[in-house]
């Protein structure tokens, strides 16, 4: 494999409250479409998309889990983030509660997700700026505080509706991912982060009954 043709594959999961626009962000990224009449997702959808990072001449393939934000699917979330290399915690800039929820997801990921997972906090619906409820400065301060504890949470805002900032999120994540490790690892034929491994390991979840987390 020549250096001109560097390739790495990563798993990415979207988390966040219902109706913040997770699916819309993914669809803008993968299909460059926006579905106005979109209904809420049931279960989860799996999609893929590649980006190229010109400076390192690397092609990155994202395997994306677009999960349902609805409360009743919450117990399934670990199945999707357990093996993830990156997570988008999405909130709606016009909804205070969705920002709180995104913070909860970040907390959960820090406890449960694989070490080194790249987390991106995304504020969607930038096109509704005049209805904004979540102050950008506040989000910046929140993230700065997180990053003081040696974390590396990326911050982004976008509008899936007009496309603004969407690709940027994935480029930022691409640059934060351990691309070199994966490429070298793949060359050494060893199992590294991001190397292809079929199935989602869920051994810890297996015997748990389907529960509704409602507290």
């Amino acid at each position: 494999m020549s250096d001109n043709n560097r390739f790495a594959q990563f798993k990415l999961v979207l988390l966040g409250e219902s109706a913040v626009g997770k699916s819309s962000i993914v669809h803008r990224f993968v299909k460059n479409t926006f579905d106005n009449m979109r209904e809420s997702t049931i279960g989860a959808a799996f999609l893929t998309q590649t980006i190229t990072l010109p400076e390192s001449n690397t092609t990155i393939k994202f395997e994306i889990w677009d999960t349902a934000g609805q409360e009743r699917y919450k117990s399934l979330a670990p199945m999707y983030y357990r093996n993830a290399n990156a997570a988008l915690c999405v909130y709606d800039i016009t909804s205070r509660s969705s920002f709180n929820k995104a913070q909860d997801w970040i907390k959960e990921l820090k406890k449960q997700a694989p070490e080194g997972i790249v987390i991106c906090l995304v504020g969607n619906k930038l096109d509704l700026e005049n209805e904004r409820e979540v102050d950008q400065q506040e989000v910046i301060e929140y993230v700065q505080e997180l990053n003081q504890e040696n974390d590396n949470v990326i911050l982004s805002e976008c509008s899936a509706k007009n496309g603004e900032g969407v690709l940027d999120i994935f480029n930022k994540i691409g640059r934060a991912l351990p691309v070199e490790e994966v490429i070298n690892g793949a060359n050494n034929r060893s199992r590294q982060v991001g190397s292809r491994k079929p199935g989602v390991n869920l051994s810890r979840q297996q015997n748990q009954p389907q529960s509704s987390n409602c507290c």
Binding site: R38, E39, I42, G43, F46, L202
Partner: protein
């Protein structure tokens, strides 16, 4: 043009004479090999009667649209009078009386009803130790389904829902509707989730666990099961849903035996161990082929809900082909206590067919639906689906498959406007064949009325004149059209037509004979394996 207003006389008669003397004398010119050769080319007589002139609903001088808005279509923001105008009400409430769902009206309006209902139910339970099922006050019927911790209630003022089914001596239709709504909740939540929610707090609000989509789906089902109309004015398959629920048969597709067997063996060949049921469907509406274990069955209702939920999810999503879905769902009649995981991949047959360097214009969506018992093996299931798609792409007959799926038209004899044929021979899956569906509200409501009455009426047995064909049951009801049914051990045939009764029956039997001679194209689509 003004609709012709004829006052119809409803004559329910048991038909005992006039059947063609010798069944064998019925000549069909249908070729058994090619469906396109079907010789019925006449145009069905248009029946002009408007549903408002029939004895279905209360009389009112408003236009069709006004009438439907006033009496039929659901509304959430209604005043008391508007609420009372609606001909049908559905409520779902908790055992303690907390409203969960209502087809019409908001909480303030229905809270009085829910209090009353819980009081009646509990007084019956305490004093008689019995569940109340139907309260009959002549013009209004209240049906109740008590599934602790939930109570489902419907109130109907609709003519065709008033009469008992004369075969089962039961208000089958009203009962089935409530069961369907209940099963929908089980589908998305499962029984343990519902029970657990109420365990700690009797006044738990189940709505916390439901989404807008769920309420929309409940509205849509309530409308389709009652009127055959869709909740969102897209009546594309709404009547079909009503009819398939009424006769309890899943609509089938028309595919040549060779292609069907090829697809069957593809599914079977690539099946991995955890796959319990596998289906190829056309537009999530008709089953092309299905695999199932010898020891397990999946009911019509479970398949119906499964496909309906996926279909509503996929609605309004562009390029659904780029997504693989992985959906936890409960199949209530299979096992209401747990979830299965459903993998869904859709692909467009038109996009893999190149004729003279061009693609087909009209898309023809095929869905691979694989039901797994293990939530961890998405990628294995995805691989299975990919192999199936690769194999379909390589199929020489894919062009023919496209033609067959996109030309789903059934030609009818001139006397018959519409029919449904329910197959009783193949036991693995109850299926039916429905001729092309009406799409306009007027026809749909009339057909719902005709078929409901026909289905609930009693039929008489006719001794066969020929030894080999066994006994048949026949019944008919005369309006300005004639509705009739022919039933024997292998099939049920219900139809609406106009003309002389004897002609209708003879033409009906021709259709039956044609369907029977094409049995393998319509019904031979389930393959069993050892699980």
């Amino acid at each position: 043009m003004l609709p012709r207003l004829t006052v119809s006389t409803q004559a329910v008669t048991n038909y005992t004479a006039g059947l063609p003397e010798n069944d064998l004398s019925i000549q069909t010119t249908v070729s058994n090999s090619d469906l396109s050769d079907l010789a019925f080319n006449g145009v069905a007589k248009v029946n002009n009667t408007h549903f408002q002139s029939l004895d279905i609903f209360p009389k009112d001088n408003s236009s069709e649209d006004e009438y439907l808005d006033k009496f039929v279509y659901p509304g959430k923001d209604l005043n008391n009078n508007q609420f009372n105008d609606k001909l049908k009400q559905f409520f779902i409430l908790s055992s303690s009386g907390k409203p969960i769902y209502s087809l019409n009206g908001g909480d303030e309006l229905i809270i009085g009803f829910t209090g009353l209902i819980t009081t009646i139910i509990s007084s019956f339970q305490h004093q008689l130790n019995e569940d109340i099922v139907v309260i009959d006050s002549g013009d209004v019927k209240i049906s109740v389904l008590n599934r602790d911790p939930l109570i489902l209630v419907s109130i109907s003022k609709i003519n065709y829902e008033m009469s008992m089914n004369q075969i089962t001596n039961d208000y089958q239709q009203l009962k089935n509707q409530l069961h369907s709504l209940y099963n929908y909740l089980l589908c998305i939540l499962s029984r343990p989730t519902i029970t657990k929610s109420f365990q700690n707090r009797m006044n738990y609000d189940l709505r916390k666990m439901l989404t807008d989509v769920d309420f929309k789906n409940l509205d849509d089902m309530a409308m389709k099961l009652t009127y055959g109309l869709s909740g969102d004015s897209d009546n594309d398959d709404s009547f079909e849903f009503f009819l398939s629920q009424l006769v309890n048969g899943f609509p089938t597709s028309k595919i040549s035996y060779t292609i069907r067997s090829k697809l069957n063996s593809l599914l079977l060949h690539h099946r991995i161990d955890e796959i319990l049921f596998g289906l190829l469907t056309s537009n999530l509406r008709r089953i092309i082929t299905m695999i199932k274990p010898k020891v397990h069955n999946i009911s019509n209702s479970d398949i119906d809900f499964l496909l309906r939920i996926i279909k509503n999810n996929n609605k309004n999503i562009k390029d659904i082909e780029t997504e693989d879905l992985w959906i936890p769902i409960c199949l209530p009649e299979f096992n209401s206590n747990g979830f299965v995981y459903v993998y869904v991949k859709t692909f467009d047959l038109a996009k893999i067919l190149v004729i003279d360097g061009k693609y087909y214009e009209d898309s023809q969506l095929i869905n691979i639906v694989l039901i797994s018992t293990n939530k961890n093996n998405f990628f294995k299931v995805k691989e299975m689906a990919n192999k199936i798609i690769e194999n379909i792409i390589q199929l020489e007959l894919k062009d023919k498959l496209y033609q067959e799926l996109s030309n789903y038209t059934i030609n009818l004899p001139p006397t018959i406007n519409h029919f449904v044929y329910r197959d009783l021979k193949h036991k693995d899956l109850k299926q039916c064949l429905i001729s092309n569906n009406p799409k306009d509200c007027n026809s749909i409501i009339k057909y719902v009325y005709y078929y409901s009455n026909l289905y609930n009426s009693k039929s008489s047995t006719i001794q066969s004149l020929t030894q080999e064909s066994g006994n048949r049951k026949l019944s008919y009801i005369k309006y300005d059209v004639i509705t009739f049914s022919i039933i024997d051990d292998n099939y049920e045939f219900y139809a609406i037509g106009s003309g002389e009764l004897s002609d209708l029956i003879s033409d009906g039997l021709k259709v039956v004979k044609w369907i029977k001679s094409n049995d393998k194209r319509f019904f031979g689509n389930v393959v069993k394996f050892n699980f």
